[in-house]
Symmetry: C2
Subunit: 133 residues, 2 copies
DNA sequence: CAGTTAGTTCGACTGTTGTCGTACAAGTAA
DNA sequence: TTACTTGTACGACAACAGTCGAACTAACTG
């Protein structure tokens, strides 16, 4: 594993809180993560994101997203694969994710090109980091 | 006026930031304010909300909503009339407000009955606080 | 005029957030 | 085994958020 053998905990679908989700998505770094995650429906490692923060900060943001129920993390060797909990989010808050992602894409520009960097980085990644959905 | 003659500033439609809006709506008190504001399309005074906080905290929350561009405030005698900036929000972030309000209404229950209290309080209000849309 | 009403402003306080660096753990590759 | 890679854990820190109470301001009401 990446670190301790502590289990990765995710909230149940029924436990998702709107406030927590909105707060999780109100940070630009986390919104960028979710946007990249939503673009390609694949499992991405934490390191595959071109984020302007250090590793530890990155870990923190992924934990916030996970605790809010926005993403799911799965251990795979030394890496941690991330996926959007799209089904759960759509079930609890219909249309919320798509609406926010669309708003993030069209407005508040400047982070729209993030997907390109993701794709570029993904090309340099190892074997098991990305797999087709 | 309620206090100083300082002008009430609102951001332009183009200046609305998604992160700020999401952050503004991630607080339960503010979400309640917006939900009540959205229910009846009228101008409500700050005091017409049955909020579980003091006046000064209330002022703070209204300022956050105003700075984020979620609401518009207009001075009217000693009171301040609040309206949702629905048109601006819909223009910048299509569907976002309705989606969040719907999510707040259906899920995360417990604040759904807020509208009833608003109606009750509105009935006790003075003359110019509520007017038909 | 004095009193009431509606809301702001100003500290103050506590808790949370975003950030970092260093140290560490676990798997993978040489 | 020895590195290297990937990520976590742990302080630490400054900044911010939400809360309150007290003082204040301005309009309205008697």
């Amino acid at each position: 594993m990446a670190s301790t053998n502590e289990q990765i905990v995710h909230p149940d679908r029924e436990q998702l809180e709107l406030g927590a989700v909105l707060h999780a998505l109100s940070d630009p770094v986390r919104l960028q993560i979710v946007a990249e995650l939503a673009r390609g429906e694949v499992e991405c490692t934490c390191g595959s994101f071109a984020l302007p923060v250090t590793k530890s900060t990155c870990t923190h943001h992924f934990k916030v997203l996970r605790d809010a129920g926005v993403i799911k993390q799965r251990q795979q060797g030394t890496t941690r694969l991330n996926t959007l909990r799209r089904a759960d989010l759509d079930a609890r808050f219909p249309g919320l994710l798509d609406t926010i992602l669309h708003a993030a894409r069209t407005s508040a520009g400047g982070h729209v090109e993030a997907a390109a960097s993701l794709t570029a980085v993904a090309g340099t990644m190892g074997t098991s980091s990305v797999r087709a959905a």
